[in-house]
């Protein structure tokens, strides 16, 4: 009964879903256009950087830059979806569970669909700069080989991001492996720090021979292999090409196999969805809901629910974990690399607030309950901020302590904490109105990394804009801190708290007004596509 199904229908389905998602929604079209601009910008910058060694006619530079640049692309595809962007899962594997499709067909199809998107296109264009370089250095034959290489590289990038996010999603859902997955996710996020460090250290020392030897090693790993084959032809080492092709293909095949395993378990839903505590409780419903110290009021109920949600909702939990790790590792990486920690503190504080950028998107249609019960905007906004602060402020305290300890200057603790709190308050002030005006729907899947198409671009753009704005708004305080360094030790904490509180009060006031006027529109914005 079933005919042969290729990958093409999946690609068409994905494009059709993307187009339908945009139809008649001007805000989503705007986001999509922004995403496209973003991708275009990345593609152009990437292409020109990879083309530089060719223009400079330096085989040596090319041999250092191409494998390392390629490895950076692959690592970017590995980390960015996990930590920042999520993956576009407009084709949710679970939807195909009832169709008579072979696993191979399904994976090929989903893979092809994953390739049909702006990020993949931008990556392809960027890495085409390598073909440019190789063509100038080694002629058309070498360029042809490199073209094959960057195509393989693209397949590798997409396979890595799919396999890893899917594996984490599966693991985070199952009761047995959830904590392990949370820890390894944290470690993975943490690995960004040391990687950055290594890159910084390498760049600072600018010892090109070391870089070249690292690059030679990387070229033999799956990360760099596909990106170095054209150069091998250009340098007269064509015998390496088949070996490296083999390495790349084997890596891609292994990743796809891994992906197909986790997709399958996601489809049949083997992983128990959440804690199933069977023992009955005799405590009263209100006591069960409220945390011990929470007031028995509307505000207390909202805060308690939010606090439980930050832990029980896989999406929010992934968010908290990655932030807590980033907040510990950013100061370390900067402390080691000698630059001033002022910028980092601001960055960490604003980054903390960013978790609330799409706070209503996390709730989805469940937010309707707060509309029908008529929760005033001010109470809603304040309760959400308080719940988040209860998780965040201890982490900021830890960051401040860490910075003070690493700089062997315990006296700095208070001043640093002041800067962090100021940045957090200002960040909240920026993010809260955005969370109402720029809310977007998250797909209704259990995968915490899943994004509807355009969602990733939206998130990336918002993140960048808020980070920039947060740094700008906190700049005056940072300058004061710099110029009044000795006094800052004493006034830093109160001044920072005052600055942050002012930022928060202004922003949350705007947000509350907005919310009172736009509750139904907000609900529509966070309702997943139907």
């Amino acid at each position: 009964m079933t005919g042969k199904v290729g990958a093409w229908p999946f690609v068409r389905l994905k494009l059709r879903l993307t187009a339908n998602g945009l139809r008649g929604r001007s805000s989503r079209i705007a986001l999509f256009v922004l995403g496209a601009l973003f991708a275009g910008f990345f593609a152009i910058v990437g292409y020109s950087s990879f083309a530089i060694p060719g223009v400079a006619d330096s085989l040596f530079a090319a041999e250092s830059a191409l494998p390392l640049g390629g490895a950076a692309l692959v690592l970017g595809w590995l980390f960015l979806p996990l930590v920042f962007f999520g993956v576009d899962e407009s084709l949710d594997p679970a939807r195909f569970a009832l169709l008579p499709l072979h696993r191979r067909t399904l994976i090929t199809g989903l893979f092809a669909a994953a390739l049909a998107g702006l990020p993949a296109l931008a990556t392809l264009v960027a890495s085409a700069g390598m073909v440019d370089t190789v063509a100038r250095l080694g002629g058309p034959a070498a360029a042809g080989v490199q073209a094959v290489g960057i195509l393989l590289g693209l397949l590798l990038c997409v396979a890595v991001s799919r396999a890893v996010t899917s594996a984490f999603a599966t693991a985070l859902r199952s009761r047995r492996s959830r904590d392990l997955a949370a820890i390894s996710l944290a470690l993975l996020a943490a690995a960004i720090g040391p990687l950055q460090l290594a890159a910084l250290a390498g760049a600072q020392r600018a010892d090109w021979d070391t870089v070249a030897s690292v690059s030679r090693v990387v070229a033999w790993t799956p990360l760099g292999a596909p990106y170095s084959i054209g150069l091998d032809v250009a340098a007269g080492r064509a015998w390496q090409v088949p070996l490296k092709l083999l390495i790349s293909l084997a890596a891609i095949a292994a990743l796809l196999w891994w992906w197909s395993r986790t997709v399958e378990s996601a489809m049949v839903g083997t992983a128990g969805s959440s804690t199933n505590r069977t023992s009955a409780s005799t405590r009263s419903p209100v006591d069960l809901l409220l945390l011990r110290w929470a007031p028995r009021t509307r505000f207390g109920a909202l805060v308690s629910r939010e606090i439980r949600y930050w832990w029980r909702d896989a999406r929010r939990r992934a968010n908290l974990i990655t932030f807590s790790i980033a907040s510990l590792f950013l100061p370390i990486s900067l402390a080691v690399s000698t630059s001033s920690p002022g910028g980092t503190t601001i960055f960490v504080g604003v980054l903390a607030a960013l978790a609330l950028a799409n706070q209503f998107g996390f709730d989805g249609t469940a937010y309707a309950a707060n509309i029908t019960t008529g929760v005033p905007g001010r109470v809603e906004i304040n309760a959400r901020a308080v719940a988040h602060a209860i998780y965040t402020i201890p982490m900021l305290l830890a960051t401040a302590t860490l910075i003070a300890v690493l700089s062997a200057d315990p006296a700095r603790l208070a001043g640093t904490l002041g800067l962090l709190l100021a940045a957090y308050g200002v960040g909240l002030g920026l993010v809260l109105p955005l969370s109402i005006r720029a809310a977007y729907a998250l797909p209704d899947t259990p995968n915490p990394f899943a994004m509807s198409s355009g969602g990733g671009a939206a998130k990336g753009f918002l993140t960048l804009a808020v980070l920039l704005a947060g740094v700008v708004v906190s700049l005056p305080l940072q300058l004061i801190a710099l110029f009044t360094a000795p006094v800052w030790l004493w006034i830093g904490l109160p001044a920072g708290i005052a600055y942050g509180a002012a930022g928060y009060l202004i922003g949350s006031g705007i947000a509350a007004d907005q919310l009172d006027k736009r509750m139904p529109e907000l609900l529509a914005a966070v309702t997943p596509n139907r």
């Binding site: 959440s274 069977t278 419903p285 209100v286 809901l289 109920a301 469940a366 309707a368 008529g374 929760v375």
Partner: protein
Amino acid sequence: MSLGGLVKRFDTKLAVAGVSLEVPAGSFYGLLGPNGAGKTTTLSMAVGLLRPDEGRALLLGYDVWADPTAAKARLGVLPDGVRLFDRLTGPELLGYHGLLRGMDAATVDQRARELLEVLELGAGNRTLVVDYSAGMKKKIGLACALLHAPRLLVLDEPFEAVDPVSAALIRDILQRYVAGGGTVVFSSHVMEIVERLCDHVAIMSSGVLRMHGPLDQVRGDKSLEEVFVQVVGGRVATGSELAWL
């Protein structure tokens, strides 16, 4: 409840094209219509979940859009196609709704326990609502709508996915509620339930009210199902199609 000329347009599609409806206080009002008729859209606009393009909605004399606080305080809603805060357990969810309604904790506890027992959801049940069955989710949603003893209940398909015993139970609850002076508006596809419960019905199709009024007047001497099919004009039998089935 009084709806005046409600209109909602999605993109170019007119989902609700000017619905005006008077629901007398103390009545049990059934809203019928084929799939896609605009029932959910109408009820969402009536309770303040969806902003109408035109028209207004008065709940017990308060305008939902002009005076939402007063209107919503007296209203209980069971929306359709909307999730609950389902990572709470049943008791937690009821506690949440109760406190959001500004009730005092002791009353919330007592009523929540009673509702959980009566609806057979278990007052000590610590399963998260995500892991409930579809019918249990409907029941806990209904419990959330009833908790603050509103004067007006708007329920979108309350009997969908509910087993016969629970359905009888819900019918009984609702009948007692109306006997006590409450007003119920609900949408349903189950004619028997509507015929048995309602004193008023309205039939919608394609975003327009086709017929409305007291049940006996709408029904005449036919059965409600016959009237429905006649008004809506669908087909109830297949011809030569689907022969391969």
